[in-house]
Amino acid sequence: MKGSSESVEKFLRALFSRKIVVFCGAVVILFIITAFFAPYIAPYDPDYADFAAFLEGPSKTHLLGTDSYGRDVLSRIVYGTRVSLIIGVLAVIIACVIGTFFGMVAGYFGGIVDDIITRLTEAVRAIPQVVLAMALTAVFGSGIRNLAVILGISSMAGYIRMMRGQVLSIKESDYVMAAKLQGNSNFQIMFRHILPNSISPIIVMMTQQVGSTILSEAGLSFLGLGISAPTASWGSMVSEGRVFLLQNPVFALTPGICVAVLVICLNMFGDGIRDALDPRLRGEL
């Protein structure tokens, strides 16, 4: 399927016409580069413990000081970027693929299949997302891979709901009826006509979910339920550092700032994409 180059161009122009969106996009890319080239950017080995220099304040040798084991805080933050982004992206992909599929099936076939999926989704949505993720860690345990799966599962309901709504409205459109009359099978209609037309809301939802997944990961790690020592993760760093607030506040506070900046930029960039995809909003901004 060929997309229209003109509409892509229009979209990009709308996206980049706002300085704040460009800025946020640049920051996100900066974080991605950091995660990718962590070994080259980090000044020290994140796990190297210099017992002679624990809980030091910022200095020329340790730009953000050291933690309670004498590890370089900056290096650990750089490596923490990896954990956050990997989990954020993986979880969103898991949630999106499974959620979109079930949402599509529920919306398209309706009836009892729809009833079952919808009720299950509602039940999952009734449990606060953090609580659900926590309960799942009790079962699956932690670690990067498990965490990605857990966060993926716990944010799946949103995709199901969104996709179901999409399908329900698209299903009634004349072009789906036309496709049916042309002799397309259900499978062909779902994947050739409905899915491509739901792509923009899915993309918007994904960009917005990466941020909130990163937040959840940091939260779980902060509670000691996510990434465990000695792997560097922003959430667990804040948790370790809060005991030593008086000695080196930079240790506890900077990882949190990183979470906040990354998530804010991701969300603003996501909003930018949403607005650029919505022709109605394009003119107004």
């Binding site: 997309g3 016409s17 009359l181 107004e284």
Partner: protein
Amino acid sequence: MEHLLELKNIQTEFKTDGKRVRAVDGVSMYLDEGEIIGIVGESGSGKSVTMMSMLQLISSPGRVTGGEVYLKGEQENVLNYGSDSEEIRRIRGGKISMIFQEPMTSLNPVLTIGYQIQENIMEHLNLSKEEARKQTIEMLKMVNIPDAEQRFHYYPQQFSGGMRQRIMIAMAMSSHPTILVADEATTALDVTTQSQLLEMIRDIAKKTGTAVIIVTHNLGIVARFAERIYVMYSGGVMEMAHAEDLFSHPEHPYTRALLRAIPRLDDPKERVLIPIEGLPPNPAERPEYCPFYDRCEYRMDKCKKEIKPDLKEIRKDHFAACLLTEEEKKQKKREIDEKEVKKAPLRKAYKENCLEVSNIKKYFPIYKGIMRKKVGEVKAIEDITFFLKKGETLGIVGESGCGKTTVARCLMRVYEPESGTILFKGREITHLKDRELKKIRPKIAMIFQDPFSSLDPRQTAESIVGESLKLNGAVKTKEEYHTKVDELFRLVGLDPSLKGRVPHEFSGGQRQRIGIARALSSNPDIIICDEPISALDVSIQAQIINLLEELQAKLGISYLFIAHDLAVVKHISDRILVMYLGRIMEIAECDELYNNTLHPYTKALLSAVPVADPVVEAGRKRVPIRGEVPSLTKRPIGCPFQDRCEHAKEKCREAVPPLRDTGGGHFVACFLYE
């Protein structure tokens, strides 16, 4: 003489995608006391925006950039008042009231209708709440809302579209305005409701001395109701004249072209529509010269050299914005008339029936409660019997809820009828299963109403047109596929080099051509056209009608042409089938139906359709019709039309009149002709 309202050189801009678009480009008009004027124009001509600009209702990203508005009793230019000032608010709703197009969304869903009217009265007439309430009920009674006292406390969603528009009229008139603007106020409604409401507006206005501005795209409506008419095109006024004068002696080439392009109910059968070629200019790239130049048959070199002409008086009270002199126009007219006028394409008449439908029924179950228990049925269509000959066009007309779309979907076998038979070329297809249906499907194709929603926005024109070729194995090689697609493109008058584009890169008319190409791709015997032109502008409609007629002559296809616009149906069809509330009322040859109308419903329906000619309009006899089309669930026992029919007798309330042949293939379902 001082005018009641005068607009001078209004200019309004919108900003989209960073570009400035002049939606209204220097419009001047006036209105005298008690007068009814019409503003007629296609979508995008700036007619509604002009009205909104006058009241400063344009909101961001739009802006009124210039012009003056003078209203009798106001000392200065109304546009100088702030957009939220005390002064403009006194005018809005107080001196100038407005009724909008969408009755379903124009009333606030969380406030009672009584409150919404009462609020308007209290705002402008300084009455106490109790007095305002009394007046509200008076107003509701005036627009014939039954049980006004109780209905005061109802919410908008408890009313039908027609009722809501009555409520809007009551609200607009409640503050005793001097001017009422009806902005496409009846466009979304059925023909019979439309004429009822417009007559009501006219009667109330004449009684109260209110001046009315009717904004519409429908030339028939202005011909019937307006005393003076402004014709707008691409953000400017092209022509202004008294109604009779405008229709009998149109001066502007656009008005002339428009009248040649629209079908009329009183047309002779052999009339050929002459479409206006091309498209209105994109308002963002409107030229400095006359905006109609590119489509104008009268154009001369000087038109392109000079800037857009202003309105000038051609004779008394008749203005047109054209550079050509009378002599030049006469000369051009002669040239145009001499040019070979296209004849209606010759069609072969066949004897054999392509489709025979007898007694089909379709009921839809109603579910209620948590357990989805079936509590009843909506009887969408009942006892539908007709036939369609090869190469013939059968028009199906009727108002909303009459079941015309359900009939189409049963024939397409999207629905399976409860009972009855459908014979396609002698073969029974009523209860075929999916696998056998797949072989029949390509032979019965469909053209949809909305060219926007009927084409998958993510597919290219090529794959839309070629999809069925691939799916049904009609082509073997890639070359064959491309040759066939190109051929289909040319057949519907599209350039095959455009086939890589996606639907939104085409205009509405082009999109409908793609839809037609798609329907043709499977080489069908029948094409079901479900309102194929009602979403298009009048100047484009003629192009599509002509295309359909040519294709039929060339390929010998049968059409089932479903529409609510009687004039169009009458123009294109050989025979017409009239439906009401799920049943057939009358079937007859076109001219027979028009000249020898039998069923009281058909009479009312025909009489409700306005003809774009004030002289003809003045001479027509009006058949009044009571009430509105009821919902299907409230269909009366007996003849479905009985409670709106003047001739209803005891018998009509007891039994459903059968469809009988009165001779010469003229069928009618009415006890009057037994």
